[in-house]
Amino acid sequence: MRLLEYQGKAVFKEAGIMVPAARVVRASENQALRDEACAAARELMSAAGIGRQAEQDPTGSSGGETAWFAPGVMVKAQVTSGGRGKAGLIVRAESPEDAGQAAVAIVEREPSVRVILLEQMVDSACELYLSISTDAGSARHLILASAVGGVEIETLAEQNPTAIQRVSVDPFMGLQPYQTRGLGYDLGFSGELVKRFAQVTSSLYQVFRANDTELAEINPLFVTQDGSLIAGDSKLIIDDNSLNRQPQFEVTREQYGTDTEYEAALEGIPYVQFDGDISLMCAGAGLTTTVYDLVQFEGGTVANYLEFGGPNYRKARRAMELCLKNRSSVILIVTFGTIARADVMAEGIVGAIAELKPDRPIVTCIRGTNEEAATETLADAGIEPLLDTEEAVRRAVAIAKGEQV
């Protein structure tokens, strides 16, 4: 589960990583949104003028007169997709009124935005990159850092690979002081900045471990004129397999682009929204991904990725309900399960059809344990039981194209 920027920053703040002072406003009717955003921006700008303090400064080293803040506020759409800047979903506003205007403009540009973050603007001397993830091969935690921040790490890795410093951490021993200190020196820092960077890195590592994250990234990590470090963004991906031991992270509607994705997430059904013609309702992650490819190869388009294998193989009705929320023209069901028994899934599908009376054709290709019984069940219900994946995909694509099948 990927947290929204403001959620990630709340985690940072608790871990002692400085973040800009901020206010969250929720999308609503335009005038109300404008007023709310404007008021929030006014509050932030006056606080910046008076206090000139970020919300947390565990070092206690920055007095009241530090010049961390540029005039104005940042208005940032809270969505999990990347490239917000280019998409016009992050706007710099010079005045409270501008901020109100910017909030409205963002929601008009991208109506799926439900939350907007307003932040004090940081007057940075430079921007760093810092992330912690895993190196699967060595089974060690991997810290990546660069003095070139604000750029996506993949882009940096291609364009300027030597600018990236790596530290590898033993998962049992944990991050050691010599590693954070060494990283700072390897990035070319000196003096107090080495210490502060070590502190932020160590705090981010705590965040990474304590919250079962796949990725904990700060990009950009601002260095202010007086050498303070402030997280300009947050990217925290919580391991889905760990959510039951991380109860502080709730699945909320805000994190999803559509209602259907949110509903699927609540149900524990892997689901990705697209805007094509064919709803995939398959079992098995690798097989579903492959069917996605085959649909593309045949010239079709996918309305949604949905996988109801594994623990969900008895959830045919719920899966079909989710597919029917799309404007797809056909539902394509492909399975080849072992524990996810073919007969159980076939019965589930037949029951779902009886109950939901789908308004679009359904193509089935159900194989695996007890597949003979499944074939019979489908045939009895008047559904043609295909047994060849390629054929099923071609059939679905043909239907989607309006061809006679």
């Binding site: 895993t134 089974a139 991904t289 492959t290 593309q296 695996g368 994946t389």
Partner: protein, 293 residues
Amino acid sequence: MSIFVDGNTTIVLQGATGSEGSFWAQHMIEMGARVVAAVTPGKEGQKLHGVPVFHSVRRAHAQHAAKAAMLFVPPRFARDAVLEALDAGIPRVVTIADGIPLHDQIQIRAAARAEGAQVVGGNTSGVISPGKSMVGMFPYWIERVYRPGSIGVMTRSGSLTNEVTAWVVDAGFGVSTLVGVGGDLVPGSRFAEFLPAFETDPETQAVVIVGELGGTMEEEVAEAIRDGVFTKPVVAFLGGRTAPSGKRMGHAGAIATGSSGTVAGKVKELEGAGALVADRPCRVGELLARVVQ
């Protein structure tokens, strides 16, 4: 002979006294697996399919030395159960649990490496040598999917493997040993780590890789081919050629970001090393036929 386990490998089952574990334990025994003991805390003294149950792996191992452990324990206990098996000195461990927390998986693999042991999984069907032994859960009763033969298979998927092996069998081949490394972000074992065993296995003529987007396991296979570690023919099918960047579809391990982890990159590496790559499962059989007599 077969790789990882054969009919002589003594096996201890952990967490197999539940209904699902017991069901599959029975199938394993039918398939030829030499199960010598089971471990379920609190149930020592009971029997499971005729083998004695113990409180702990140490206690089981002390009386019935085991060379492999098969774990049916739930994801949240998998880490503890794997560490228990490793600590008792079991060199090969299969954990099928789907949903092991990432940070547990990291520690599982780190501990296995420190011990010089091999842990397969989680989120896998395990390992099968059709007709010989099985440490896992495979529909070996479907003959058109699991016929004995000379093709080694390594896979990150479950259902997709059934799909692919059906095409392997359809082309007239059979499977020597199939290893499911699992779909997690940090699997206990990686493709390339099995290549030395397949290389020396006289029953394996070629290896089929069932991979997908994300990670670097396929690239490591390409490297092993280039380095001469593996010299038999390799045919691969990789899912996720058209998957959109940055979206996670399916397995936790199946995500590409930017240009890293894409199928296109993997295909380039594999083909560059001399492997054949099928763009659809149905073509795996015909590519195999080109390289295997």
